[in-house]
Amino acid sequence: MTEDLDIKLIKHIQDGIPLTKTPYKDMADGLGMSEEEVIGRLKALLKNGKIRRLAASIAHRKIGINSNAMTVWKVPGERVDECGPIMAAFEEVTHCYERPTFPGWEYNVFTMIHGYTDEECENVIESIKQKTGLNDYVMLYSEREFKKVGVRI
């Protein structure tokens, strides 16, 4: 199995798989592969993590999930491994990362919080504060969306 064929497969379907009864068969036909090969490659790509999921990306604003608060936290270095999982455990926290600091920027843990309302996001933030004892954070709400697309290769 060459990497090139995996890339070819991903490129063929990254904007959407065929919405048919036999999507893998149909993509296989378009690529000159067999259905078994397409399924096998997708399984391997999921297993090795090159594909996170084969799933629907929803337009969250259109669904009514209108609030997105990127909340940045100042977490003491020795508490990052303890606080990260507490934050990540909330369903509304879709992403939770540690990132570098630099002079003038001391917020090292980022949580992306999605909710139907700002209040819903802020309730999560309140719970995180209570569970971790952290108090230094900034809620950064999106005022304008200039671009939002899926990651393409």
Binding site: I10, I13, Q14, D15, G16, I17, L19, T20, K21, P23, Y24, I39, L42, K43, L45, L46, G49, K50, I51, R52, R53, L54, A55, A56, S57, I58, A59, K62, I63, G64, M70, V80, G84, M87, A88, T94, H95, C96, Y97, E98, R99, P100, W105, F110, Y116, Y137, V138, M139, L140, Y141, S142, R144, F146, K147, K148, V149, G150, V151, R152, I153
Partner: protein
Amino acid sequence: MALSEIDRKILQRLQTNLPLTHRPFLDLAKELELDEDLIIERVKSMVEGKYVRRLAPIINTQAVGNSATLAAMQVPEDRIDDVAEVINGYSGVSHNYLRKGKNKELPLNIWFTMSAPSQEKLEENIKEIEDSTGFKVRMLPTTKKFKIGVKFKIY
């Protein structure tokens, strides 16, 4: 078009993996106790109605060999539009937002994510943005991941 109960049920399920089988929607139909044709028809309709951006592989850009970073800039009000346009011009930019601190004011206001085929190319792009806009770009790459989900609760 408003989402029906059935649409919501399908969407909730489709945020996790589609089965890798000969008839994946038939498998979903059994699981959700719905009809295969109905599921396909509803998914198509939700894609057309733009409730679903796409049903496709969600790519881990770093695992396929790309380098990626979150980046932030401090840009004065009257330059925001043209700086945002410069950033959007890069195909590796997947998100680009103007953000404002609610409980505290922060100088950084434009936040974007960029990926590129290599770290070198990524840094080159960032440098280009700095040169063409005249503003510093702060790179904030992930140093540790606790969660990457993006599964929404559909009411």
